[in-house]
């Protein structure tokens, strides 16, 4: 079972939920940190890393001896990464999305595949749990290939918990797609609700069963709850706005270590998710 922990708004508590949930449940589990632009699960888990794998992608390189400056490569590139001039061809690696269109269309076989690094994947163990995270290279913008690579470590025989990036764009889709359940973490503020709605619309398109965790639940107003009831989204857990939790987080510590009663709460959260997944499976 794959549970993807997402949110529209950043800073609502995805990592807190992901890490504490992974360490609380009574089943075999792995944790994948898919927020590859700013991975942070490792700050809380202190994993021992065992392997490092680069994520590479092809970019074109032009053989000017063969090139006839016909511009077919420039015309097919949606990202403007190729400039064919009168006697030269410029390639902008950082704009290239490695779609392969230019390689296919070149009639002169003048394009050579060059490799570039997008990022890297680290695999290891955090408190006996398999832990994998990805890291985007500085200056790179292509995030989904790294997330897909992190997800290639998914073990279908155990529970997979994914810490997704915030927002609703391509990286988030890459971290949610084909999950069995999406747990949306939100906060009861106008910003939280605004971005939650965007996230819910995205999850609906992906057609994946989903539920809510309301973090800092006694702040703000009750608009998030009203919205959840109206949209029939189950609220699976509420975490109060507790100074102790804030302090634990700010030290990079785990809630379940300092407030052990939470271990059971996260187990209950997992049980509810499992019920939802089973119920969703029946209705399909």
């Amino acid at each position: 079972m794959i549970i993807s922990i997402a949110s529209g708004k950043g800073g609502t508590g995805k990592t807190t939920i992901s890490t504490n949930l992974a360490l609380s449940i009574n089943q075999k589990v792995q944790l994948l940190d898919c927020d590859v632009e700013e991975p942070n699960c490792h700050l809380f888990l202190d994993p021992v890393m065992e392997t490092l794998e680069p994520v590479i992608a092809p970019v074109p390189q032009i053989n000017l001896e063969k090139c006839t400056f016909c511009k077919k490569c420039m015309d097919i590139c949606r990202f403007g990464a190729i400039a064919v001039l009168k006697k030269d061809v410029l390639i902008f690696d950082n704009l290239c999305h490695s779609c392969g269109g230019c390689f296919e269309i070149c009639p002169e076989d003048a394009i050579i595949e060059k490799e570039r690094s997008l990022g890297e994947i680290e695999q290891g163990t955090a408190r006996e749990i398999p832990f994998i995270h990805g890291r985007l290279d500085i200056g790179q913008v292509m995030v989904p290939p790294i997330i897909k690579k992190v997800r290639s470590y998914t073990d279908p025989d155990i529970v997979t918990i994914i810490d997704a990036p915030p927002g609703t764009s391509c990286p988030v889709i890459a971290a949610m797609n084909h999950a069995d359940f999406i747990l949306l973490v939100t906060e009861p503020t106008p910003f939280g609700l605004h971005d939650l709605k965007l996230a819910v619309e995205t999850v609906k398109i992906l057609n994946i069963p989903h539920g809510l965790v309301i973090n800092r639940a006694d702040l703000g107003n009750d608009e998030v709850k009203k919205y959840a009831i109206k949209e029939r989204i189950p609220i699976l857990m509420e975490i109060p706005f507790d100074k102790k939790i804030a302090q634990i987080y700010s030290k990079g510590e785990m809630i379940i270590d300092k407030l052990p009663e939470y271990k059971e709460k996260f187990q209950i959260l997992f049980d509810k998710i499992e019920q939802q997944v089973l119920a969703g499976g029946q209705s399909k």
């Binding site: 420039m74 590139c77 949606r78 990202f79 403007g80 990464a81 400039a83 064919v84 001039l85 009168k86 030269d88 410029l90 902008f92 704009l95 913008v141």
Partner: protein, 119 residues
């Protein structure tokens, strides 16, 4: 000499468009005869990425040796440099006046981009 100027309209009476890659029009004008051609830049204007690069390639294709514009980013500048097109930034006013000023010979050419890239 042919020079390219970013323009908000398609005549010499139009105002210069300070944007380069996403300018409404790019006017290529002969500085001697004032004969000109206005290129509709709509495709680049709405481009997802790389507007400046594509506009730079277009200018090179039309044999302009100089670009007069407001702001030019790093990718566009690199492309123009490779194509041998000189760039003068921070230009303003009507296209015809910009050409006249250029003909007086006081134009200072840039040695780099004057705008950060877009992400």
């Amino acid at each position: 000499m042919k020079i390219a100027i970013t323009s908000q309209g398609d005549t010499l009476d139009s105002e210069l468009d300070p944007r380069f890659g996403r300018a409404a029009y790019i006017i290529v004008v002969d500085t001697q005869t004032l004969e000109f051609e206005a290129f509709d830049n709509a495709t680049n204007k709405n481009a997802f990425k790389g507007a400046g690069i594509q506009a730079a390639a277009m200018i090179s294709d039309n044999d302009a040796q100089v670009l007069l514009t407001g702001f030019c980013g790093p990718n566009a500048f690199k492309t123009l440099e490779a194509a041998g097109v000189k760039v003068a930034n921070d230009q303003t006013g009507k296209i015809i006046d910009v050409v006249k000023k250029f003909n007086q010979g006081n134009t200072v050419f840039a040695d780099g981009a004057n705008k950060d890239g877009h992400w």
